[in-house]
């Protein structure tokens, strides 16, 4: 047991109920050059601080959602649906 992640559907739950996928990135266009694809697939900001990430509520409502989380302390993170990403940015 560790910190509690806030699922936008189910509310706060132990982080062990969730799966982390990756930091949020835009997928390149299909015709992007190979280097751009390589960067997308392998390189990461790996930010020390607040970053936006993909999480999945594996043991709950089975939803994919985004979390804005401070990777230094996990406190005060914000969770939201993908469809709300655009208005957030």
């Amino acid at each position: 047991m560790s910190f509690q992640l806030n699922c936008p559907n189910c509310g706060k739950r132990a982080v062990s109920e969730f799966s982390f996928k990756c930091e949020y990135m835009e997928r390149p266009e299909a015709d992007a050059d190979f280097k751009e694809w390589g960067d997308y697939i392998f390189l990461r900001e790996n930010k020390k601080g607040t970053q936006t990430e993909w999480w999945f509520h594996r043991s709950g409502c089975q939803s994919w959602f985004l979390v804005e989380r401070d990777t230094t302390n996990n406190t005060d993170h914000k969770s939201f649906w993908y469809k709300d990403l655009k208005q957030k940015k």
């Binding site: 559907n9 189910c10 109920e17 043991s59 409502c61």
Partner: protein, 221 residues
């Protein structure tokens, strides 16, 4: 027609349950001592296998209007709340996900109400196991089983949530006098063993449909 087996059929054998056929399902009627099981239900707690219940899931943007067609009022339920009538109960698990529980054999009549589903509809009857916990001390079993606060004042009768019991993902539905645990049938036996393992210390024993018959109604309803 071949008989339908509960995911706990192995447990029935291990515990010498008396079985009964319900709508084509071979279910436990009791576990050999209905009087004792009744007493545990009154004074301590029991676990009963309700895996034969009809289960239908609806997902997608149109789930709520489909659910409404099957159970009147279902589209108005708030997320993580439920609505029950005599034979069925609808859980709204997310904005776009419903799970309907209905009496065994009743799924077809519910499905008949929905000629052309607009949502992703799955008859989950055989995919999911279902246990009912009854008796006053069932909270003591749950507090040893899940990291979610299920105390009555936090998760009230009529509410539903999805979380894990002994690391098995479950949909947990509270009524006034029961907790109903719906889960993947593949984990049923494991979950039963785990619940019994902690339950035995608080006087929980397995029982069957004769002692804990299926009901969704809240006492006040």
């Amino acid at each position: 027609m071949l008989i339908k087996n509960s995911p706990l059929s192995g447990i029935y054998r291990r515990h010498s349950a008396n079985t009964v056929e319900v709508s084509g399902w071979l279910m436990a009627d009791d576990f050999g001592n209905p009087e004792k099981e009744q007493k545990h239900l009154q004074e301590q707690c029991v676990i009963a296998d309700w895996s034969h219940l009809g289960k239908i899931s609806l997902s997608g943007a149109k789930a709520s209007s489909d659910a409404e067609k099957m159970i009147k009022g279902a589209s108005k339920i708030k997320v993580l709340n439920t609505l029950s009538d005599q034979t069925s109960v609808a859980f709204r698990l997310t904005q776009n996900d419903y799970l309907l529980l209905t009496g065994s054999g009743n799924e077809e009549s519910l499905l008949d109400k929905l000629k052309k589903p607009q949502s992703t509809l799955i008859n989950q009857t055989g995919a999911m196991g279902c246990f009912a916990l009854g008796g006053a001390r069932r909270d003591e079993v749950l507090e040893r089983s899940t990291a979610v606060d299920l105390r009555r004042d936090r998760v009230t009768a009529g509410s539903v949530l999805q979380s894990t019991l002994h690391t098995v993902s479950c949909t947990i539905y509270r009524t006034e006098d029961l907790d109903i645990l719906v889960h993947s049938r593949t984990f049923s036996e494991s979950l039963f063993d785990a619940l019994m393992d902690v339950g035995i210390g608080v006087g929980m024993i397995p029982t069957g449909l004769s002692v804990l018959p299926v009901s969704f109604n809240k006492e006040d309803a």
